[in-house]
Symmetry: C2
Subunit: 437 residues, 2 copies
């Protein structure tokens, strides 16, 4: 993409309304614009990141045997009355009347909708186990939306639902999602620590929040330092194998959100205790027959008996992750994208657009990179070098390839690594080789 | 995907509520389920088709130089008051009050939202021309939703918007979308005929509906038979070249919707007149400064003067196309998917699951097809052959690979082409070669 025609309205000033670093950089880099409180339009640069994150989430869900479908945003109130949550949900639910005065709502989550679908279309224990997910916009009418897409009203979420015949099977589904989440966040360059979360009246220990570490995170957490050095992704996962030992290797270690910290355990950890800040990006939860009993979602068992479905739900905040990754990876000049979610891999900077040698060299590199399948944003604008460097640092592409008249005379271009700041002078051919390796 | 674990609830009976063939087959094949009137959940089989159509639309928009972004579903009423459409739109607009009693709405279209974004972020004639699009769910509160996803309330639409400095440039943008639409529909195996549409108070001739031919289409159209034989896709398009001759080669030919038919022209055509039925799947429209003037969306010209933006909008009904393609391509047994949008390319039928030889041959073919990157749905269920044949015809995958005990004894499998009904007996190796060619 040529920057001269790309719709990327960057800003030099820091917008006054933006209180956290991700919100500031997303506005300044032209990634998003507010439509109304807590509701955002994703401009092309931000959209590209959103899609990459969505795709990683999708691939890891698919790998875990989860099947993708898509439920609508607008749901009928009846199914929420069946579950008993219509009145409970309070003002965060965006309630809507259609032209025939039917009670509708913009889904804040989909337990009821998926339970209805499954109830109406799966009848036998032979239809189990099943893991289903969708990636769809949700709406929660927060009283005070803030922090940009970190705490928006309209937000993109991946939510999965498991259907099983009994607790042991439900636990296997839970473990699949547990491991899939570790892999998902790891692919985005994040350390996401699973932390025991409340299960409320459901009881048991099958509820975990996944919290990524970020110096500017929203809340304080404490954990065993061992988490910081663990290999999050590891080998390819065989989801048909017993995942309990893997899950145990994580849950056995101490990790607690602020309200759950335990002085005794922390004392025992001694030097191995890390206190850090974090951001919740995922939550998995086993809730047994809560919805299936309320909504009469049963299957026929091997002996013809009716068995209520054992269920769990598993969420990832896809749009929130865009901000979360920025909180975890930035410096004072801007964003530092991990390569897996970067909107482009390379920023090609023409230091002197209009100069024949510079244009020729840049056009050639641009064409070659495209041909090699490398996503490249080519700053072909006229204008000062300082502006180009600042914009490129701000939007945080992993590599900057800088072409100027002086270097070209010696057959040299400069390759800068955004994360380390390391600069290398090398021939255009060597730079190409490095970027297409 | 193994059918034994795929969530694809087929139905043998024709659902009473489904009046048109696409709706019947989509329900019977387990592609969609109704959530409430005119609102559907897309089950995994339907979702795969929806995504393929979306991806073709996306690729052709990108190729035409259109940049993707994403606007939210919920819009503030204010921008619609600016344009004057808030009161005009009537009851089809789903109006919403949030918890602070602010007037919001579920976007039925996005002219106002994109005009606001562009107005606030593009200031100079140097920011032009620009083509922007998004693929997002829309809502129109139809008084009597029917025909399944053909006329739903919540539907997926691709809408593009062009921003130009003057009429000549706007016409170039219009032509790009005109050609992109021809290419898009052609890739889906459709003949989409552009037909002059009303421009109302805007005037001029820059408004076309794209109507695909389908025997069971919603309306009657008449056109020059030449359309039926034209090469819709042709060579790769150079969108920087002058596209007017290509556009003219289509618009010069007679084609009219029912209300626009012209007896004199039809008489002149004589034998070359075709009368057929069709379904509208796209609409492109140049509307000049209608929104930019109302919303004060201007750029600064080369002389410092303020110039209101020349705009156009360009829609494709993505979810509607799923039904449209079925209307255009089916027989009495079910859907006949064009390969480009098929949920899977191959249906592998094991005629005798549990039989050692059949299982071994099928598992081998399944693995080989997956390894070759061929999308395959493997019917590994126990059950009668008749049910398997009927289900496979119903869901309409382009190829059926049938493996039975008798054929295997002679080293033979059967390959059936769903569209032509042609069957071939051949060795498993030859079948693989054909399917991976």
């Amino acid at each position: 993409m040529r920057l001269s025609s790309f719709f990327m309205p960057t800003m030099k000033e820091t917008p006054a309304e933006a209180q956290i670093v991700s919100h500031r950089f997303m506005l300044r880099a032209g990634m998003v614009r507010q439509s109304s409180a807590g509701i955002y339009s994703w401009l092309p640069l931000g959209f590209r990141v959103l899609k990459k994150i969505e795709q990683i989430v999708r691939e890891e869900q698919d790998a875990a045997g989860c099947q993708e479908l898509l439920m609508p945003t607008i749901q009928p109130a009846e199914i929420w009355r069946e579950s008993g949550r219509y009145d409970d949900y309070g003002q965060e639910m965006l309630r809507i009347s259609d032209r025939h005065d039917r009670d509708m709502l913009y889904g804040p989550t989909n337990e009821e909708q998926i339970t209805q679908i499954f109830r109406d279309n799966a009848k036998s224990y032979r239809d189990l186990p099943k893991l289903l997910y969708h990636i769809q916009w949700k709406f929660r009418d927060e009283i005070r939306p803030r922090f940009g897409v970190m705490r928006g009203r309209e937000f993109l979420m991946k939510d999965s639902y498991s259907f099983d015949l009994d607790y042991a099977a439900a636990r296997r589904s839970y473990n699949k999602m547990f491991v899939a989440y570790l892999r998902t966040f790891s692919r985005m360059g994040l350390k996401a620590i699973p932390m025991q979360a409340d299960t409320g009246p459901i009881g048991g220990d099958l509820s975990h929040e996944f919290i990524i570490l970020a110096e500017t995170g929203e809340s304080e957490i404490a954990c065993d330092k061992a988490f910081l050095d663990m290999d999050w992704l590891g080998e390819e996962t065989d989801y048909e194998s017993d995942l309990q030992p893997t899950v145990d290797s994580f849950t056995a270690k101490y990790a607690a959100t602020d309200e759950k910290r335990d002085a005794d355990q922390e004392k025992a950890l001694g030097d191995r205790l890390a206190v850090a800040r974090g951001i919740e990006v995922g939550h998995i939860f086993y809730f047994g027959t809560k919805y299936s009993k309320a909504m009469n979602a049963v299957v026929t068992g091997p002996e013809g008996e009716e068995i209520p479905l054992e269920m769990g739900s598993y969420g990832i905040g896809v749009s929130r992750l865009v901000a979360g990754i920025i909180e975890a990876s930035h410096d004072e000049n801007g964003i530092i994208w991990p390569e897996s979610v970067a909107p482009f891999k390379v920023g090609l900077i023409n230091l002197k657009s209009g100069d024949e040698a510079c244009d020729k060299a840049c056009d050639g590199l641009y064409g070659d990179l495209l041909k090699a399948g490398v996503e490249v944003l080519y700053d072909d604008r006229s204008g000062r070098a300082g502006v180009k460097f600042a914009d490129m640092d701000l939007i945080g592409l992993p590599w900057q390839l800088v072409v100027g008249p002086r270097g070209l005379k010696d057959g040299i271009v400069e390759l800068k690594n955004r994360a380390t700041g390391e600069r290398q002078e090398l021939s255009p051919e060597a730079a190409m080789a490095k970027l297409t390796a």
